[in-house]
Assembly symmetry: C2
Homo-oligomer: 353 residues x 2
């Protein structure tokens, strides 16, 4: 039995729909209906077909199916940086959603390079993917993105907005998140607060900075331009930025970090300066990575649910496919998670002591 199966399988070419039809004793069309899960085929027939498929080791040929039907089950997740742990979480959330909808998610990494982004997307077009999720590379051309959406399939931007592009974006409420964390620090009595990390050419940086500035302005606190220090979003960037800012102004008592990873870098730099976060200086992050509650002290940060981002992004893809109408952008809610990395200061601290 096992022997005969093996023989049949390895004998000659791969099985096709025709072979399956023969073995099942039905027509090609019927096999196709079963393969596509079409309603209205007798249960008994379905069973016969599936039996034949197993027997022959038949493998569905999606190249042929896609050529004829012009449809594809592939959805591309075009990721700007696979080494970014928050993005990894978003990808995982997206994958879960997409599979439930019957899509095959494939991720393509562009490493923050517009050139790679252009090349990879061109290849994906040739493969006729059903839709795109994309965290656009810095300096992505708005027209390029709009054309992708027009001429091809649904496109949803994640995490970053490309100004002028007619494409829905799903991203955290960056402004609100930073506003909340900054207000929290102000409430603890901090008056000289620095903002470190992030690359100025990306939309989320601008939004987070605005949230920070808004909170400061509302409290009547001035922000010196030199207290804002952009940097790479890697750990190393946080370390460098923190040192720059504290070298210039040791009187700073609180640090707002562009992301948790930047905050981790700040932790390192502080420790090398003999300063303890949560005691000598306050630090807040953004993202609430899994690791952040394991830092010591545990990092106070802004939580953005990767699950929510994945879900809202998928909803938009579906809406686009079904109604053929371009969905609205969406802001995902944020939440301040208070842990142990912030101390009180000044009158506030004395008052509490």
């Amino acid at each position: 039995m096992a022997e005969s199966k093996k023989t049949r399988r390895s004998s000659g070419r791969k099985a096709t729909v025709i072979d399956v039809a023969k073995v099942a004793g039905v027509s090609k069309s019927t096999v196709s209906l079963v393969l596509r899960g079409n309603a209205g085929v007798k249960a008994e027939t379905i069973e016969k077909v599936n039996q034949a498929i197993r027997e022959l080791g038949y493998i569905y040929n999606r190249d042929a199916a896609g050529l004829r039907s012009r449809e594809s089950n592939l959805v591309a997740i075009v990721a700007n940086d696979l080494a970014n742990p928050y993005l990894a979480q978003v990808i995982i959330a997206l994958e879960g959603q997409l599979e439930r909808l019957g899509f095959m998610p494939i991720v393509v990494n562009i490493n923050e390079s517009v050139t790679r982004q252009t090349d990879m997307v061109a290849s994906l077009k040739e493969h006729n993917v059903a839709g795109y999720f994309i965290t656009p590379a810095p300096d992505t051309d708005a027209n390029w993105l709009t054309e992708l959406a027009n001429s091809q399939h649904p496109v949803v931007c994640l995490m970053r907005d490309v100004e002028g592009a007619l494409v829905p974006t799903v991203m955290p409420d960056n402004r609100l998140g930073m506003y909340l964390s900054t207000r929290y620090l102000i409430g603890l009595g901090h008056e000289r607060i620095a903002f470190i990390g992030g690359i100025a050419s990306i939309s989320d940086y601008q939004e987070r900075k605005e949230g920070f500035l808004q909170a400061m302005n509302e409290a009547g606190l001035v922000v010196k331009p030199s207290d804002i220090e952009p940097s790479s979003t890697k750990r190393q960037g946080g370390k460098i930025a923190l040192n720059r800012v504290l070298d210039r102004a040791p009187e700073i008592t609180a640090i707002v970090c562009f992301t948790d990873v930047v905050a981790y870098g700040a932790y390192t730099a502080l420790s090398e300066r003999g300063l303890t976060p949560g005691k000598d200086i306050a630090v807040v992050g953004f993202d609430d990575l899994e690791d952040s509650r394991l830092m010591s002290p545990a990092l106070t940060t802004v939580r953005v649910s990767a699950e929510d981002i994945g879900q809202m992004a998928c909803e938009r893809l579906q809406q686009w496919r079904e109604n053929l109408t371009v969905p609205e952008s969406a802001l995902v809610g944020v939440e301040l998670v208070v842990r142990s990395s912030c101390c009180s200061v000044g009158k506030k601290a004395r008052g509490l002591a």
Copy 2:
């Protein structure tokens, strides 16, 4: 001009090879030869064809091409855990290599689940990918893997070995790496050394443990079973494992960690215990992640070049495709990177003091 282009593009169906042939004034066959980069077409003709392609906004249909030629430019990277930063580095290295070879790398995340692995690979088969790189999920069936390699396209395992599977594996010399780091600790005078982190059902865990035990045995040091504490490979796992091991035996003076991430968790736990790595206790990791030199103290660890893994894995894929012969497995070299997380102890420390 811009106007006429637009009109042409949006008028009706997508351009095909036939349209390109008409505009270029050549035959379908010639267009195909140009598309496939076939040698032996006049430069002038190539230019005419490319001009027509641009003019029409022609998009190559890989479903049709794949159906006819049975070839594909897709190579799948089946990743067990996208949240693992070391794996992210390996993926990035692999992508670089694959693109130079003209492949389109797509990554598929299986989240350490055999079920997802089976499902995703089944889908990839339907898409007729040209080859597979795979970091097998725990409890992967050796026969399943062998069959994948037999019946389909080249398969190269990364990082983990599946015992009994007839598939080449490219992974670090785990045994040597741990042997080196343990010897180093022994050289610093440590006698009671714990090994923490890692999941026992995966090959790299066994190999790293063996390297550790070998060094201990050679030095005539006994290892209590309770000084070996497996755990998840996440940061949280390292934290828990460290606490378990030190709760049982506070006299332990050095910790060998399964990975750098586990070591990060150990750092957290130590700090909460009021212990400083590199002063009160020695810690070594494995992987040499980018972050490890930024920890404070900077982590002593075993470096494995992700670039080398990517390169050797690609070589094997190519060899398989070209010679139709299954390549040998390969061990990638390792290197001990001494930084500041290890202290001397006992006679050794006193001698130096």
